[in-house]
Amino acid sequence: MRPVFFVFSFLAVMGLAFWAYRENYATQAALREMTKLQNEIASLREALTLQRAEWAYLNRPERLRELATLNFDRLGLLPLEPVQFGAAAQVTYPAPTILPGMEGFPDIDAPVSVTGQTDPLTGAEIAPSPVDGQFP
């Protein structure tokens, strides 16, 4: 019984040693990977900061003003003036478009006043129903 126990203990020790060896290298690899990723994150962050700074530099009011002056006529710009403020009611909406072939038809958006009802088959007038919305 005892030799078997010794053999098993020896095998267990060897197995654990092998496991520890592999874990050690796996950990080191993970740490290396992490360092690499963190360096990458740091360099990306740095690039981001730099690009943000560059964006701010390219959008500095002085440069935008010069660009606006250069392209003033080409873009049809106007200086911002107090008189350009208006009320919403002053906005002119586009005229309703009339489709080709529909010129003769009345405006379907215009409100219509209805005074009585006519039977579509006989043409005879129908007295309005006492209850709204109920038709014979």
Partner: protein, 595 residues
């Protein structure tokens, strides 16, 4: 252990035979036994003490060794923890109120040399002088060969310069990474931002510290690692700031002024939307302070905050408001305005020796800017109440704005208040304050008589400061100020639709001889708009302007500061989303009469 009896029979008996006292034997034995017990316990205690001291020794040795280890090893970032933004950015960004960047950091490199590793110091010095024009090759070669082992050459450099240094290819030239402060907008808002430089410098990193402006005033907040990820948002609006600086620079050039300053402030929250001072400087390349001459001539000088001037007639509205507040007069009360007025050995005159008198209504004192009328009102108020009113408006203390220059800009206040001081301070002479003080005081009027604290930080809420005058007095003051722009001395500042109200001030500059220079003036226009519901206060100050379009040079604020302020309002009010309104006619023009 065999216990010795205290009274051994044999010795007792023999002692008795000899006629001795047997009790002495017992006492002797007792003594011996006690000594034995004592020795034993002492030995045990010594062993314990030994173990205890060994324990302490081990503990302290462990701590000491650990400390030594920590001190001796290179610092290393924790590798297993996830890196947050706080590790990357060392100093928080500064943005304007809309999040546009005013100051940020940039990675760059410093250049240093280790002359012992250097192959050819002479060639290195010559090549470096070609890249960096400020380097003197002879002096650099001498420093590289005098036996030192370490030498800083450049604090920061551009990537192109770094590449060219690389191409020299000498192993004694080394680079150290640096976080550099960058102001992408150049001179814009330079006096607000101030500047930054390096503090303690090491090879692998350097401290960035603020040197002026808000960078220094809020240095602790900007350096706080816990807050380095959140940018510091200022109340400044970049677009407004750019517009105001542009208009101000144009005005300064056209009017041949030495300097100019403008402050735009929200009267409810106290937020400073724009603070400009010209001439300005580039915070990326901050000039050195002047070593001789007037520090006020340096571009580093913040005229809006540090410039303490006699602000002239802009003060008259405070005197009139005080008189109204005390119930001494009404707006239509007639006061003596007969010029010139003699007071002791002094003579108080009007502008160009005019005479608006003999009597002038309180309202017209402001509209016509009568010195004599204001002086008489001040005499009615009295020195004590006048000084107290100025104090309540903040003219006795430096402003609390978040700039490192602010606490140093202490107003110059007369020590005593004889009657002549009461008279001169009533129209803004003999008392000096910065344009920021004036903006705060006008904001109190615009805010219905409640003081606001000026701030440069975004997120201001309507302030509930101390009340310095009643709402009626504030409203009456605004009405008078509106008439100044409508028909008085500041008509050039009337912007249609924005109901500008304000007061001009022209103060001659004191000279070195103790008198006043008539051809050197400080012109100020303090305004608030729109008058029916004031939202903003604008103060424009021009230093030594002169308007030369007419037949003779004009130096009054109405011809210099006022048109500049008017143009600023015309340009900025739409940017702030202020809608122009058609002004209702004054209510008192029609009077109902019946008979």
């Amino acid at each position: 252990m065999i216990r010795t009896p205290l009274r051994p029979l044999a010795r007792i008996l023999s002692a008795r035979q000899k006629g001795e006292n047997p009790d002495t034997i017992e006492r002797e034995n007792l003594r011996l036994r006690h000594e034995e017990i004592r020795d034993k316990s002492r030995a045990r205690a010594e062993v314990r003490l030994l173990f205890l001291s060994l324990g302490f020794l081990a503990a302290f040795a462990t701590i000491g060794a650990r400390m030594g280890l920590l001190a001796a090893t290179e610092p290393m970032e924790p590798r297993t923890a996830a890196a947050g933004a706080e590790i990357v950015a060392t100093r928080a960004d500064i943005t304007d109120r809309n999040g546009r960047i005013l100051a940020t950091n940039m990675q760059t490199y410093a250049l240093y040399a280790q002359p012992r590793d250097m192959v050819d110091p002479g060639r290195v010095a010559r090549e470096l002088a070609k890249i960096f024009p400020e380097i003197d090759p002879v002096a650099l070669e001498r420093r590289l060969t005098d036996g030192r082992s370490f030498l800083w050459i450049r604090r920061v450099m551009s990537p192109e310069q770094m590449q060219r240094v690389h191409e020299i290819g000498d192993p004694g030239l080394l680079f150290g990474p640096r976080e550099m402060r960058l102001y992408p907008n150049g001179q814009l808002a330079a006096h607000v931002l101030g500047g930054a430089s390096f503090g303690a410098e090491g090879v692998s990193s350097a401290e960035v510290i603020g040197t002026a402006g808000i960078e220094k005033a809020l240095d602790a907040r900007l350096r706080d690692p816990a807050q380095s990820g959140t940018p510091l948002a200022l109340s400044i609006d970049l677009t407004l700031q750019a517009t105001i600086e542009e208009v101000l620079a144009t005005g300064k050039t056209m009017l041949n002024a030495k300097g100019a300053a403008a402050i735009l402030m929200d009267v409810r929250t106290g937020e400073i939307l724009s603070l400009a001072s010209l001439p300005a400087f580039d915070p990326n390349d901050r000039p050195n302070p002047l070593v001789k001459g007037d520090p006020g001539d340096s571009p580093l000088f913040n005229r809006a905050v540090q410039g303490v001037y006699e602000l002239g007639s802009t003060f008259k509205i405070f005197t009139v408001a005080n008189a109204l507040e005390q119930g001494l007069v009404e707006m239509d009360t007639m006061v003596d305005a007969n010029a010139p007025k003699r007071w002791g050995r002094f003579t108080i005159k009007e502008f160009q020796n005019k005479n608006y008198g003999p009597l002038l209504s309180v309202e017209d004192v402001i509209v016509k800017s009568s010195n004599v009328g204001t002086a008489n009102l001040a005499l009615m108020i009295g020195a004590e109440r006048q000084a107290a009113f100025f104090q309540s408006l903040g003219f006795f203390e430096p402003t609390t704005i978040e700039l490192v220059e602010a606490p140093g800009a202490r107003p110059i206040v007369p020590k005593r208040w004889p009657d002549i001081t009461t008279i001169t301070t009533s129209y803004g002479h003999g008392i000096s304050a910065s344009p920021m003080h004036l903006a705060v005081a006008y904001a109190a009027i615009a805010n219905g008589g409640v003081m606001v604290k000026p701030t440069l930080l975004q997120g201001g809420v309507p302030q509930n400061g101390p009340r310095v005058m009643s709402e009626q007095t504030a409203a009456a003051s605004i009405r008078m100020l509106r008439r100044v722009v409508g028909e008085g001395t500041a008509t050039l500042g009337d912007v249609p639709g924005y109901q500008v109200a304000g007061k001009t001030g022209t103060a001659e500059k004191p000279n070195a001889q103790g008198g006043y220079d008539t051809d050197k003036v400080v012109n100020t226009f303090a305004s608030l708009f729109p008058a029916d519901n004031p939202k903003y206060v604008l103060v424009v100050t021009l230093d030594e302007p002169v308007e030369t379009s007419g037949s003779e040079p004009r130096r009054t604020a109405g011809w210099t500061a006022v048109p500049v302020a008017g143009e600023i309002i015309r340009r900025t009010a739409p940017l702030m989303g202020l809608r122009p309104v058609v002004e209702p006619p004054p209510v008192d023009e029609l009077t109902a009469v019946s008979n």
